[in-house]
Structure formats: C-alpha cells, structure tokens
C-alpha cells in the first residue's frame, strides 16, 4: 500500500459484488455486519438470517499483475438460530449484530459473533487429510466378517480436497437482559466486553459460565431512564481502557485499573450543543451510533446521525475534527423521523494508517474523509458501475435550487437504500461496503 494514501491520490475502482442481483430482497439476506480480520486475508459478513459468510482473498496471480486477489467464499455457516425465551415470552432474532475476529493463535481462525442475547466463539479451520482403513468394514462401508480378521490395521491419513470447517467452540449466554449492541476484544488477548443498552459485561474468552458486570447504568426506577449505551469498544493497545457511547451524544472512557466496577468514568467526551441548531430532533440526531478507536490508539471516531467526529483522547471538551456526512438532510429531519430513518445506526471505520475515515449514507452513497487533506468524497455502490476495474466516479448532491449536470437532487435520494456497514482492509486500500443485501468490494487502482 502507499502509506499516507488517502482519497486524494487514490482512484477507487470496482472489484467485486457479492449476493443476489434480483430486486426482490429476502429479509434473511440483509447484511447486518461486515468485518475484516487482522491480516485482511479474511472478510466476514453476518446477516439477518443468522448466517456468517467468510470470504478469503485469493493469492495475487502472476497473470494479472494489476489486480489484487479477489475475495471468494471460504466458509458459510449458520451462527445463530431464532429462539424463544419462554420465561419472558420474547422472540430472540437470529440476526448477527456484530462479528469480531480474534488475533490469530494457530493455523485456525477464530471469531466471535453475537445476536441480541448470545455470543458465540467460532473456529474456522482447514482439513486436508482424512483417515483411511477400517478393520471391521470395507472402505465402502460394508461390514467384514469378523472371523476373517487376521491382522490389525491402523488407519493412515491420506490427502483429500481442502475442507473448511466452522465449529462452535463456546457459547456465552444468559448475561444480557437487553439487546447486545457491541462486542470488543481486549488487547490482553484473554478478555472481551459485550455491551447492551444498559450494561457492559467483561468475559474471559475461555469461561462461559460467568462474566463480570463492569458498567451498569440501569436506574433503580426505569422511569428515570434518560440514556442508553449505544456502542462500546476497548482501546487497541491499553488493556485497561475502554469507551462507551450514549444516546445523549456523550462518550465515557473508563479505566479498569481504578476499580472493579467502572461506573465512574475517567473521562467524559462531550461537545457543547450549538444553540442555533437546536430543534425537536437535536437529541435524536446527537445519539452516537458507532465509536471506533484509531489503529494507533490516539484518537477515536464517533458517528452520529449527521456527522463524524474525531476526538483526541487527551481532549474531552470538543472533537478535533468534525465531518458532515450529509448535512443536506438537516432540513429533511421531519420526514426522516416519520419514516424512522432518523433512527438508522450508521457505522464508521478507519483506514489502515488512520489517515482516512469512511461511513455510509442514503441512496447507496458512502463517504470518505481524508484527514490530512481535509477532503471529502462521495461514492455510490451501484450495479450500473460494476464492470471490473471501472473507476468510481465521485457523486455530488445538489442542495441549492439549481441542479448542475451530474448532480443528484436531495429530493430524489432513495432512503430505502442505505449503507450502514462498511469495513476497510487493515493494511491495503480495499474496502467492503454493504448495501442492503449486496457486498461491494472496491480497491484502489494499481497502475
């Protein structure tokens, strides 16, 4: 990769699109999370049907030096099934809310996947040998006459076609009363956290029957409830630090060294509200839908309904950078409220060297902000543009009265097409963008 490469000198081009192409979208096929592993070699998606699909990057081929390896399906498995909680008379959806890869510990790969209530640890491993030779039956399965056995035979392993197996290793259940919105693996490689609307629990990766409650914001009386936890994440290298964001637009940072129960935060990140922009919707649109630490651990990024904010961890009073994602929607909040879009929980991600951030918008648009050059760009994930290596053209939205050529009017945006989940390869300029039921992969043009 070209270090420092941001949107300014990167030409993004289409690489692949995954998923069915017909317009009829099955509910179960809607992608609900996208995540690269630490090396970027694997890309996992989860969907509303409880399935996890893992794509593997093919090694670069010598014949096509200008193309990086494509991602092809490596393994598909049903991670969660719909359940029914008989005690509470509640249906538990199978939808995968989050996937997190564990740092690789041996030849196999491990990931955590979670729905609203239950977190599961999956092992994805390869097998290329199988045992052969029985004593009591032939290879085709027919039984031999036991009297004909004259010698013992030890099975031998013979090579076979590569088989990828996904096996459930652990199930972390019964610790969340509310819906799990985040899971995050600690840099100590032995614990992880899971957050629901009101509580954050700390788990040991190998222990399923107990977890420690480290944050609990549930008021004694539920009528006093004024905010909920919307996302939580561990610091990438300080094992004692984590943050959680709230529906009131604040982010609290906690230090697990200070005490066992982290109900007192060490830092509170909050930007004073601009009184000029105050409206009925202020509180709803200030709710934080995602929080992500930068890879170097110095910054964190938060996404609220209209903007992305980058915070220096040393400065709590205001963000160091603020990027408007789709400011033109500010005048449309009323209709967005009526069609519930205002509650969409857009996620955001960093590129490998923290120079560019990306997030999604409506009309299958996604946005990139180059922090160094202070430039921003809008692209569209669309099938019209899905010729291999065709270059993505920046999109413009007209906000004024007069629409220029190539511009799209705000009124013609399709709010049913939204890009909520995006992921950036940890080392390369490769991005994965999930539209409703399709996964687009784009990469920078190699010259």
């Amino acid at each position: 990769m070209r270090p420092g490469g941001g949107s300014s000198d990167v030409q993004w081009c289409f690489s692949q699109v995954k998923g069915a192409m017909d317009d009829d979208v099955a509910e179960a096929d809607i992608i609900s999370t996208v995540e690269f592993n630490q090396s970027g070699e694997l890309l996992a998606t989860g969907d509303k049907g409880g399935r996890v699909v893992i794509f593997q990057q093919e090694p670069e081929s010598k014949n096509q030096p200008l193309r990086r390896g494509e991602y092809n399906v490596y393994s598909t498995f049903q991670s969660h099934e719909p359940e029914f909680d008989y005690l509470k008379s509640l249906e538990i959806e199978e939808k995968i809310n989050k996937i997190r890869w564990l740092p690789q510990k041996n030849a196999a790969h491990f990931l955590l996947s979670t729905n609203d209530k239950t977190i599961k640890l999956w092992k994805i491993s390869e097998r290329d040998k199988r045992p052969e030779g029985y004593n009591l039956k032939e290879e085709d399965g027919r039984y031999k006459d036991p009297n004909t056995i004259t010698a013992l035979r030890v099975p031998v392993l013979t090579p076979m076609d590569l088989m990828v197996e996904a096996s459930p290793r652990r199930v972390f259940a019964n610790a969340h009363t509310y819906h799990i919105n985040s899971i995050s693996i600690n840099s100590d490689c032995e614990t992880y956290l899971s957050a629901d609307d009101l509580r954050i629990n700390l788990w040991h990766q190998e222990i399923t029957d107990r977890s420690f409650n480290i944050v609990d914001i549930k008021p004694a009386n539920m009528e006093d409830l004024t905010e909920v936890i919307t996302a939580a994440e561990f610091h990438p290298n300080q094992c004692n630090t984590f943050v959680y964001s709230s529906s009131k637009g604040t982010i609290r940072m906690c230090d697990m060294r200070a005490s066992a129960l982290c109900d007192k935060h060490t830092k509170l990140f909050e930007e004073p509200e601009d009184p000029n922009n105050r409206s009925f919707f202020s509180e709803i649109i200030s709710s934080i839908s995602d929080v992500k630490f930068s890879n170097n651990g110095r910054y964190m990024m938060t996404r609220d309904y209209l903007s992305i904010k980058i915070w220096d961890l040393c400065m709590e009073t205001r963000p160091v950078e603020t990027y408007q994602v789709h400011e033109y929607l500010r005048s449309k909040l009323c209709s967005l409220y009526e069609n519930d879009c205002i509650f969409d929980k857009f996620e955001c991600c960093w590129n490998g060297n923290d120079s560019v951030v990306m997030t999604g918008s409506y009309n299958n648009f996604f946005r990139m902000f180059d922090r160094g050059y202070q430039q921003d760009v809008t692209y569209e994930a669309s099938r019209e543009n899905s010729r291999p290596r065709s270059i993505l053209k920046p999109r413009k939205i007209s906000t004024g009265g007069k629409r220029k050529k190539d511009e799209i009017s705000v009124d013609s945006l399709d709010f049913s097409k939204k890009i909520i989940h995006t992921a950036w390869h940890p080392l390369d300029n490769i991005i994965a963008v999930a539209t409703t039921n399709n996964l687009y992969i784009f990469q920078d043009k190699l010259n």
Partner: protein, 589 residues
C-alpha cells in the same frame, strides 16, 4: 499379537481402533482412554511406526478427546519400547502443545514434563531440547506459551552451552509481543529461577522479573507478584532489599487494583519469603495501605489475610505492631461500606484473640465482635458465630452471650431460608460452647420452631440438628426436653408436621437408645399407621424399617409385624411397597 487366522482376541482391539475415528465423540473418547490396550496389542514397533504417526495428525478432534490423548501419552513410555524410544512420543505431544484450547495444551505440557524425566541426558539434548526450541520460536503464541513450561525440566540436565541457549530463549519469551506469552513466561519465572544457578538468578532472573513487573499489561504485572515469592526465597537476605523490594513496593502501590489485589492475596507467602526484618519495616505499612485500599476487592483480600499476617509477625514485637498499626485499620473495616469486606474480616477476626490474649481481647476486640454481631449483613454475623470457638478458648463465651442471643434469634428468623439453614448448621457447635443450661433456656425453642418451618430444607436440617444435639447432651436430656415435643407433633393437623415427627424419630432413635425408642417413640409411630394421608402411612413403614434394628425382637414380632402386615395390604401402592420392603429388610416375613 496378530497372526493366526480369525483370531478372536483381535476383534475387541479391531473395534477399538475403528472407533478412534467413529462419528460419536463418546466412542472416540472411549477408544482414546483405552489407547494403552491398542498399543499393547499392536506391539511397540507398530505403535511407534503406525499408531503414533496417526495420532500426531488427529489434532482436529474435540477438546475432550485431545485432552484424554494428551494425558494418555504421558504414560506411554513402556508401550513404545521403554526410555530408549520415549522420544517417539514427542511429535504427537508437540502438535497437541500448539492447539488453541488451554486445557489441552497444559495437559500436553504436563505429559511432556513427565516424559522428559525418562529421556537420557543425550536424548534430552538430541530430541527434547530441539522440540522446546521449536515451540519457543513458533509462529503462533500457542506454541510459545507451551514452551514456557518446558524450560525448567530440561535445564538442569543439559550441557552448559545448551543451558545458555535455554536462558536466551526464556529471555526472548519474557519480552514477547503477545501478552499471552509474557503471561506464560511470568507464571513460570519462579519455577525457572529455582533450577538456575545462583549467579544467573541474580544476573538474568532479576532483570526479567523487574521488566515483567513493570509490563504495560496489568495481567502480566500481577503474575510477577507470584514470581516474587519464589525469587525472594532463592536470594540471600542481604540482596532482597536491593533486588526484590523495589519491585514489590511498586506492586503494592500499582495503579491497577488487580495487581494490588494479587499482592494482598499473596501477602502471607510474601511475608514468609522476605523474612521478619523486611516485614517489620516494609510490609506492615504496605499491609495497612491494602487494608485501606480504595477498591473493595483489594480490601477484602487483605482483610482475609489479617489473622495469618498477624500470626506470622516476629514474636518479639508482634503485639505492639498489631495494637498500634493493624488494629486501627481493622476497626475501620468493621464499619466498611462493602459487605464482602466486612464478611471477609468477620471470617478471620476472631482468630486475633488467641494472638492478643485475654486482656486485649476484652478491651479491644470484644467491641468489634459485638458490632459485627449486630451488622446488617447476615453473612457477617454468621461468620462471627461460626468462629466462636477461637474466642471461647481465650475469654469464654459468656462475655459475648448477651449480644450473641439476639444475633442468633434474628438469623434464625431471617427471611432468606439459606441464612436460616446456615445458622442451624452452627447450632451443635454453639450448644457445645454455651452449655446445656444456657441452651435449654434460650435456644431450645428456636430449634423446635425450625421443625415447623415452611421450607423443607430447614425442617430437614432441623431434624439433623436434633440428632447432633442429642449426641452432645445425651439421651436423658433428649427424653426430658425434645422427645415430648417431637411426639406432640404427631397430632398436628398439618400432615407435613406429622411427617416431621417421623423424620425426627428416624434421626433420634439410635442416639436415644432402645428404651426410649420402644417405650415412647414406637407407640406413636404405630398409631400413625392409621393416618388418613398415604404419605404419612408409607413414611410409617419407612420409619419402622429404620428404627427396627434398635428395637428388641419381642417388640418387633408382637407390635411392628402386625402393623406392617396391615400396611402391606393398604389400598395405596406406595404404602404397600414400603411396607413390604420393611418386612423383608427386618426379616419379619
């Protein structure tokens, strides 16, 4: 051995071998557990050339199968041909030492440690040590963590050049990139230090120890505290101050409560390891700080150690240290805001009375005991009551009895049945300490009241409690105080209470002896055989079976037998069943 046509003895082995790859985990597990049988049938040669290579590649299996395999291989030396061939076991164990499951890896390491002893010094250098090196420089942290546990077993038995390499490998792992490996190294640091020559302890171990103790991850730092204990015991006293104490002081004041918790938890071991002089100068203030720590978990861990710490203080000025330094902190903990802290303290505080003697106990500790007996948290009160014997030896229980009684009564009537259950279990102990007079006067009513508790577990415990009391106070006491009340319940309108009478009789008959059983209990039991509730009737049959052995044969034949025979024709099938069972057990047929 294989050979003859259609050998019958081969069949079971053939089944076992085939089941090594059965789809059913239970069958695979079963086969792996009988691996020695398979190996024996195959003979040493085929075990080495066929079975072990197959096992080396079966690491795809379920954890429980791999765990069993790792364990089996530790005992396989004879089955591969004795110590001469023991190195054949290394490849399968090596692959098991790299799997992701910690329990499997640990078991593989344990087996490797075991078979390392069976290697000759030459084999150890030719086969075992290269394996350790391979693991130590493996790509994945799983293999490197496993390596940490193997250094100490091969170090003492290899040449000095190889020793130098091993030390180098250990040093590398102590500064590994992943916290998993650093934790594994930190947890084996003490063990490795023990096998090292003294000069290397000072030159190598101390610097590693210092580095690990200031690791950026608190999960690593806290393991260094444990290593501190072993290292301190290896060093001469004069070196401790300069080489170990700075690190220990730092750990006791670590920013992370988990590290301080570890110091508190290991305090007694640390105290023994550093000796009395350092304890006086350093550990006493450190302990005071831990008792006053801002994190409740740390205070609770320290509170747990109060008695042990005081016991191990140097005798010459133990009392003075406790009175001026420790006791003030303890006093504060009695009214701590956290109930775990208070209850940890309550479980050990009574032990201080033997150390401080009668006068100090009365003057300083007694008020604390009394305060804790009135604590709002039942667990605190229970912990005090359960340790009464310590105080009894020093000042006698009378001093406490005035406060004790209300505390006991309150616990006895607690709304949580588990609390009631806990206090019942201390009753025999209390009875022994307080004496029969006090007991009759104050506690007897409680014991009887539990018999009609609405929770079965309490009634059951109360029955058992009566038996223990009778064992303590004797049959005569039972006859005068307990038996009449128990028998009185036989006429209770509630059938559950009538059954309690039977359960009590079951429990008491043996302790009360033949005379009381025959004369007082038996008539009541027999009369209850006419009860209209079937559950009572079949419990009569069960009771008769139970007390039968205590009765004389005359009573059995003339009184018990007719009643059981009548019950054996009862309309209820359960009553019939238990009556018939009693008849056959008592041999009355």
């Amino acid at each position: 051995m294989a050979g003859a046509d259609g050998d019958d003895s081969l069949y079971p082995i053939a089944v076992l071998i085939d089941e090594l790859r059965n789809e059913d985990v239970q069958l695979r597990l079963n086969s792996i557990k009988k691996l020695s049988t398979i190996a024996l049938a195959l003979g040493v040669e085929r075990t080495r050339t066929e079975l072990l290579p197959f096992l080396t590649d079966t690491i795809y299996d379920e954890d429980e199968v791999l765990l069993a395999l790792a364990e089996q291989l530790g005992n396989f030396t004879m089955l591969v041909g004795g110590p001469e061939y023991v190195h054949c076991l290394l490849p399968p164990l090596e692959s098991l030492a790299t799997v992701e499951e910690t329990v499997v890896r640990d078991k593989a390491v344990e087996s490797l440690r075991k078979i390392s002893q069976e290697h000759s010094p030459v084999d150890l250098e030719v086969h075992f040590e290269p394996l350790v090196k391979r693991l130590a420089s493996g790509d994945w942290f799983t293999s490197r963590t496993s390596a940490c546990g193997l250094f100490s077993v091969c170090y003492p038995r290899v040449s000095s050049t190889v020793k130098a390499e091993i030390r180098q490998h250990f040093r590398t792992l102590c500064s590994d990139d992943t916290p998993m490996v650093r934790r594994a190294a930190a947890s084996k640091l003490g063990e490795f230090a023990k096998v090292l020559e003294p000069e290397y302890v000072k030159s190598d171990i101390i610097s590693l120890f210092t580095a690990l103790a200031s690791d950026e991850q608190d999960s690593v730092r806290l393991l260094a505290v444990e290593a501190c204990v072993s290292i301190a015991t290896l060093l001469p006293q004069e070196d401790l101050e300069t080489l170990v104490m700075p690190t220990l002081r730092q750990a006791a004041e670590d920013k992370s409560w988990r590290v301080r918790y570890m110091v508190a938890d290991k305090f007694s071991e640390l105290q023994k390891a550093v000796g009395s002089e350092i304890t006086k100068n350093d550990l006493v203030p450190a302990f005071q700080n831990l008792l006053k720590d801002c994190e409740a978990e740390v205070r609770a861990a320290a509170a747990n150690k109060v008695k042990e710490f005081c016991e191990n203080l140097p005798e010459d000025n133990r009392e003075q240290i406790i009175m001026t330094h420790i006791l003030p902190c303890v006093k504060e903990l009695v009214s701590d805001t956290n109930q775990h802290v208070k209850s940890a303290l309550a479980s050990v505080i009574m032990g201080l009375s033997t150390i401080l003697g009668k006068d100090n106990t009365i003057e300083h500790l007694l008020p604390l005991f009394l305060a804790q007996l009135k604590d709002e948290c039942p667990e605190v009160r229970l912990n005090i009551i359960s340790n009464l014997d310590c105080v009894n030896e020093v000042i006698g229980i009378r001093q406490l009895s005035q406060s004790l009684l209300p505390a006991i009564v309150e616990l006895a009537e607690d709304a949580k049945w588990r609390v009631r259950l806990a206090i019942i279990e201390y009753m025999p102990l209390l009875a022994g300490q307080l004496g029969v007079e006090f007991f009759d006067e104050k506690l007897n009513t409680l014991c009887m009241a539990w018999l009609i508790d609405h929770v079965y577990a309490i009634r059951e415990a109360a029955t058992c409690n009566l038996m223990k009391l009778v064992e303590k106070f004797g049959a005569e006491w039972a006859q005068n105080t307990i038996v009449p009340k128990v028998l009185g319940m036989a006429n209770d309108p509630n059938y559950l209470h009538r059954m309690t009478t039977l359960f009590c009789i079951n429990a008491l008959s043996e302790a009360c002896g033949q005379e009381i059983t025959t004369k007082q209990m038996l008539p009541v039991v027999l009369k209850m055989s006419n009860d209209q509730v079937a559950n009572v009737r079949f419990n009569v049959a069960k009771s008769l079976q139970k007390i039968g052995p205590v009765l004389d044969s005359n009573a059995l034949q003339t009184e018990v037998k007719p009643v059981l025979e009548k019950l054996a024709t009862d309309s209820d099938m359960d009553v019939k069943y238990f009556a018939q069972e009693a008849i056959s057990v008592l041999a009355l047929a």
